[in-house]
Symmetry: C2
Subunit: 319 residues, 2 copies
Amino acid sequence: MTTIGEFELIERWFTRAPRRAALGVGDDCALIAPAPGHELAVSTDLLIEGRHFLSTVDPERLGHKALAVNLSDLAACGASPVAYTLGLALPYVDERFLDGFARGLHALADAHAIDLVGGDTTRGPLAIAITVFGEVPVGTALRRSGARAGDTVWVSGRLGDARLALEAFRGTVDLGHALARVRRAMETPDPRVALGVALRGLATSAIDVSDGFIGDLAHVLRASSVGATIDVDALPRSADLRAQPVALQRLCTLAGGDDYELVFTAPAAMAQRVQEAAATGDVAVSAVGRIEAHTGLRLVDARGDEVSERHAAFDHFRA
Amino acid sequence: MTTIGEFELIERWFTRAPRRAALGVGDDCALIAPAPGHELAVSTDLLIEGRHFLSTVDPERLGHKALAVNLSDLAACGASPVAYTLGLALPYVDERFLDGFARGLHALADAHAIDLVGGDTTRGPLAIAITVFGEVPVGTALRRSGARAGDTVWVSGRLGDARLALEAFRGTVDLGHALARVRRAMETPDPRVALGVALRGLATSAIDVSDGFIGDLAHVLRASSVGATIDVDALPRSADLRAQPVALQRLCTLAGGDDYELVFTAPAAMAQRVQEAAATGDVAVSAVGRIEAHTGLRLVDARGDEVSERHAAFDHFRA
């Protein structure tokens, strides 16, 4: 513990020259103007130690993840990131923690060319509140409500590794050397921002997978008043996850949570354009099912047989 | 404790029909477009139990205050409130707390005709993260950096009652029946939004008093590269505070914090227009000093004698 105060803390770790916003950290408000013909997309997340990350997490990875989960919400709307604000409660001024945390945060912000434009720091149990701003041409934001019968259901990247890592930390599975790989999925997710932007005008709906594939897809189905059949064997997963028992594979892919991949729908005839968007976004996409007029979610395996598993979405007040 | 989950919690306490934003709570992002010719002013605050409020606070007053402190930042920029997001960590789903908190929050939001457009709830130590959005015509936002030698220093409302209430709760002073009055200043501050809007194009600088008059005025002086002489006897204060010893009056007005009044500067010739803006904002304003080219802050009493007190600004990592 040092005698560094609140203003020095902000100055030392969180003040950088703004790239674009009219004002940076230091006035009562930041000023942000979306480009002409655009509107601002806004998302906010609150991360709490013990709920969203383990106390043992590397601070640099935590800085990355805290911003990544917010950028993932922008990706799900097809918005281009512009700026973000940070609220940070810390038990004390821990220089090692702040050095790492700021490094991870700023590195991901730099990768997306966005500014930290405001914030608030205080003493308290470790909590991270980030609000992120993106811009999107008026009327083109991807929403949850546009899925139509006949659309294909797509997933970006791979599902389940973050949950597999969590199970390893919980001691329910021993991954050996594979742990280092799958924990990257849990600790440094890669928000699918470029894919989201490329899906504007193409995807009929989109959401990011934060609470688990089934739970998040269910939000789309409800908002769109449709149903879906999903081939659980088509859900993309890593070789490390494929090496696990089928029941664990299904738990991790269907209800894992913390994936930060995009689930989206597009007309079946647009498969080629979806693949082009995926190439633009530098990520693979997999077709995993079909939207149907009949409401509800039906899970089948590769042979078309119904899968009976029931997996609830992750809920921060129930889990 | 109940078995209410995260989504039901949001639905029950925090979902209302949006008044203006393109989307309300429920998609990955909210969409906000400032009016033509305007930019968005953004401010964020993180409130932690034990630091920013006592565990004994009435939940309805806490809901009010959590939004009020953010609206106060918009007021200091001269921005008109548009929308806000809420991040809320709660140890458990406490229906009595949520009923009161939501009531206080929504009542103040209604008073300013703004929408809750997004948020995040999670289990954790009680923490409230609000980000508020306002709009201001491009180039007219009040800043800290525009004070010029010869300007008059003004303060809205009254200073020091919030600190006086805190001293009463700490047991250093016995206020008797007056406690109920002064604790209102601490628990339900009235953000000076209408005054801030009326000061556009008139005030040369502005800030809201959150950390204490001296500390917050010092931000303006630094940003504007000027100094000031302040008449400490001119600082506006309640009859309850005037009944206290002079040393306590000065502590509370100069370094009290949590006032959420505006300190602003305007050319001396504009005094009449400042009074008209105050009438528009339905709050009294007091001239308390003068901006000078010579840097530094000089405190004098009503006779012009130098006051020697030194009062540090409130610092959440040092206090």
